[in-house]
Amino acid sequence: MLLNIKNLHVEIDGKEIIKGLNLGVNQGEVHAIMGPNGTGKSTLAAAITGREGYEITAGEIWFKGTNIVDMEPDERANLGIFLSFQYPVEIPGVSMTNFMRTAINAKREYQGLPPVPAGEFLKMMEEKKNLVEIHSKLTNRSVNEGFSGGEKKRNEIFQMAMLEPSLAILDETDSGLDIDALKVVAKGVNQLKSGENAFVIITHYQRLLDYIVPDFVHVLFDGKIVKTGGKNLALELEAKGYEWIKEQHLFEA
């Protein structure tokens, strides 16, 4: 199993947000995590990627056979975990090119490889830019600076394409995207999908799942996965809303 989360508990400022979550993801799978706002979807993404301030009070996160809960965020990234941010950060003064080259070389160093030769790197940039239909003018600029909402999300997918992670977590990638941008993002993800990697797609709505078809849909509620199904579960949620899940969960509790 690529990712195996066991009985995960996460606190922010002493408040428990994730309350005993279990999730297993195999290579080649696409998992969707859905649920109402404030149920812990983004907290789960933060805990997997090692964000500061998210304290894991119990449980384990196994990735490629290692429990990563004590690892630094950069080490997790180099091990193959990628997060597409819900709100990508603007970093004035750091060029996209320099940023990507630093990231690629960090990963190569982790793998015991020498830095990527300049020519090879530029060729790689060109190829991956085409994949997400991102313009050269964007990669010549500072990281996300002055990018539109859609451009920022496409830039996330571009970075994912560059870094070729084994596990990509897409946190609300569809929010703020118009339908055309959504299609471009989905197309990029579908082209990157392989039998070797896996995707965890965190989303509030079903519409992204029209374009990136999940193998599993999980419903997160009150810090736990309360329901798991196939892609039809997403359609059911879209039609019926989350209320019936809440009622069912509260009833069971």
Binding site: T49, E72, V89, A103
Partner: protein, 485 residues
Amino acid sequence: MSGSRSNICLKLSMKTKETTQFQDLESLLTAQFEQHSERIAEGDTPAMKSLRMKHFEAFKAVGFPDSSHEKWRFTDIESALNQDFCHELSASRSDRNIEELFRCEVHNFRSEIISVLNGWYHSENGPLFTNEDGVIYGSVKAAKIAYPELFDARYGHLAHGTANSFVNLNTAMVQDGVFIYVPKGVEASRTLQIIKMIDRDENVFVQNRQLIILEEGSKLSLMHCDDSINHHTSLVNTVTEVFVGKNAHFELYKLQNLNDASGLINNTFISQEAGSNVRTNTLTFNCGMIRNNIEVALNGPGAHADVLGLYLMDKQQHVDNQIRILHNAAHCTSNELFKGILDDEATAVFNGYIYVKRDAQKTNAYQNNKNILLKPTARINTMPFLEIYADDVKCSHGATIGQLDQEAMFYLRSRGISQSNARLLLMYAFAADVINMINIEGLKSRIDDMVKKRLRGELSVCEKCVLHCGTPEKEYHFDIDLSKL
């Protein structure tokens, strides 16, 4: 070269019980002046002589400032003065090979070097020289004899002392420095580079002077480096006066890179005539104590000044930037940007004064000071001060003090970039908008290289020459040479 009999050295043993040491320094300097005034004033025009006397009297009356002085509240000048110093009245010999000392190959950057050793002009081209472009330069000592009228009309006219002890002292006692004259319409094709080196096996207190004149429609870019290559304490007190004529274009890059024991007091006065364009960039990389007094007077309509600075300080270093922009004429614009990164217990002061005269309508003045404090022990005092007497003006000012953006840190680290490299990238990005204002490509990449080295905690020097300011190891295709991170 004459001997050093007239050079005074002030030793701690001379300290009397009743006075503080710097009061001793005051009286010793005063005595030195009184005893050797003829020698100090050698070659002066009568006007220069009386200027000297006036400033000497002012220094004698007021002496050095202390921390009770409003302008020196946040800068500990007393400690810088409480040292043993030699104050030379004649050039000292250096054991080092002078040419080797100043040989400085900078990749892709052709500059013409004017060397100054321990405050004394030193150039293989002789005391006065006219270069291929027609720019005349040489020692102040020689120039005042060759161009007495020019000196009478300009020298000491911008550096109004009396209120400024260090200008008083400098004007009274200075003997040498650099003179640059760019005749009407002459555009210098090469950057002139003044390299001021301190290399003495004793502690020295140095007075040094620059007179720079750009006539109408001329163009000059000047790099002014203050370096020290040994670990002795030095205190350099330099006064630079720059006259920028009508529609002339002047760029001044100051690089301050002295050892932790040393102090530098840099007084720069620039006056601009109509339609002229000035850019100064003060890059402070290393020094125990630096005080930059920079005054730019926009005296003719349509003049523009960019007054920029970057300071990267750590340990217990201190930098104090006192910037005065005087809008004396209508339709002038000024843009002031000073950025600093302070680590450890480093401290900094920024004092930005903008003056807009009554009739200076349509003035547009912008001022900004941004700081990153890497540790809670680092400190910045930043004070904007605007005095506006015209009613149709645009003036804005801002000051920020902050830490590295934690959101940006996590974003970079989530892509696999280590914490230390992420910090470097963000610090470098912070500094980049000052570096990007450097117009000369070769110089920009050198400064770039020096900033990166500084941020990595290495000295801002390289390995090739004694000065260590040489060639980047290879061409940069990217903003940062990542193999070095």
